[in-house]
């Protein structure tokens, strides 16, 4: 839930990267952090397992500039994608203002993406948030796998699987090399801010 500080004329917004394990959520954040590092004053926080998997979340804050006279501060988080970490995943979603769902394009990961999106819907509902109301962008990641001969799902299939009802903006991406990462980030930021604009007087 965004916090509007009328005294400082500042808005704090929380955007969460959600999706199945090993789908590229952390890679998205790492790429954004690296690209924007000159504008980020602090280190990226990462709570990982010994095996370098996200245990709780990755996090960094980013100052976007002014909109309607308000300084916009974006806080970017990832969740742990592994199924067993649902309790911590739910905690990170608390107060979320915008979500990027990072789905893996690999054919073998198809079911995991569908289940993870369903899990997002359920977890949002525990905070009385409707997946159809929350600013949401889908990212079909790892499109580059095809170049390595790994079968990937056609975009039409991913759209059918994940976006046939939601009908939200989607982006193709290869987060490892940065393709599609910044457009996804720009879109979710714009949508999240737009959802608050009525309240910024």
């Amino acid at each position: 839930m965004a916090f509007i500080n009328l005294k400082k004329k500042e808005v704090q917004v929380k955007i969460v990267y959600y999706g199945p394990g090993r789908g590229g959520k952390t890679t998205n954040l790492e790429y954004i952090y690296q690209k924007l590092s000159r504008r980020i004053k602090t280190e990226m926080v990462a709570i990982k397992t010994h095996g370098d998997r996200t245990l709780f979340f990755d996090f960094f804050p980013f100052e976007m500039g002014k909109i309607k006279g308000y300084d916009i501060k974006i806080q970017l988080y990832t969740v742990p994608g592994q199924v067993k970490y649902n309790a911590t995943r739910k905690l990170v979603l608390r107060g979320v203002d915008g979500v990027v769902f990072v789905g893996d394009s690999a054919v073998v990961r198809r079911e995991k993406a569908i289940l993870s999106l369903e899990n997002l819907k359920e977890n949002l509902a525990t905070y009385n948030k409707d997946i159809f109301q929350v600013p949401l962008v889908l990212q079909y990641n790892k499109r580059d796998l095809a170049e390595q001969g790994i079968p990937i799902l056609p975009i039409e299939t991913m759209e059918q699987d994940l976006n046939s009802e939601l009908k939200v903006p989607f982006f193709e991406a290869s987060a490892l090399v940065g393709n599609g990462v910044i457009p996804t980030f720009k879109k979710i930021t714009a949508m999240t801010i737009a959802s608050l604009e009525k309240e910024l007087k």
Partner: protein, 130 residues
């Protein structure tokens, strides 16, 4: 969805953070919400913490401990205290949505600190309900 606190509320909370808690030796204090947003902060001149990261980790940590509380049949643990060799962190829940995070060294009397924090929470609660 968002929420707003009026300038007089924020002024009141900031005054409590900066006037009352440092008196007992707290050198960094944050008032945050459970999403990790920073509502008010005070930091002594000679300290320099990464405040956004502290807020994010505090909210997450408190959330995790509360989930644990529920698993063992408690509603919540309203106070958390982490003791280090030199520095300590004290977390207290304020109403259901907010958290007061105080950082202090070992020279601070814990009894006095708890008393001051309880008083501060009472005043902050009054402000938030007004």
């Amino acid at each position: 969805m968002s929420y707003t606190l009026q300038q007089n509320h924020l002024d009141g909370i900031e005054n409590i953070l900066k006037d009352q808690l440092p008196q007992v030796g707290i050198h960094c204090v944050l008032f945050i919400d459970m999403a990790g947003n920073i509502i008010a902060e005070y930091e002594a001149e000679n300290t320099k913490h990464d405040i956004p990261a502290l807020a994010a980790l505090s909210a997450a940590n408190f959330g995790a401990v509360n989930a644990l509380a529920k698993m063992i049949g408690e509603e919540d643990f309203s106070v958390l205290f982490n003791k280090g060799e030199r520095e300590n962190i004290h977390f207290s829940k304020v109403l259901d949505e907010f958290l007061l995070v105080c950082i202090f060294d070992n020279e601070v009397s814990l009894g006095l600190l708890r008393l001051k924090i309880a008083k501060a929470i009472g005043k902050i609660t009054e402000i938030l309900k007004s």
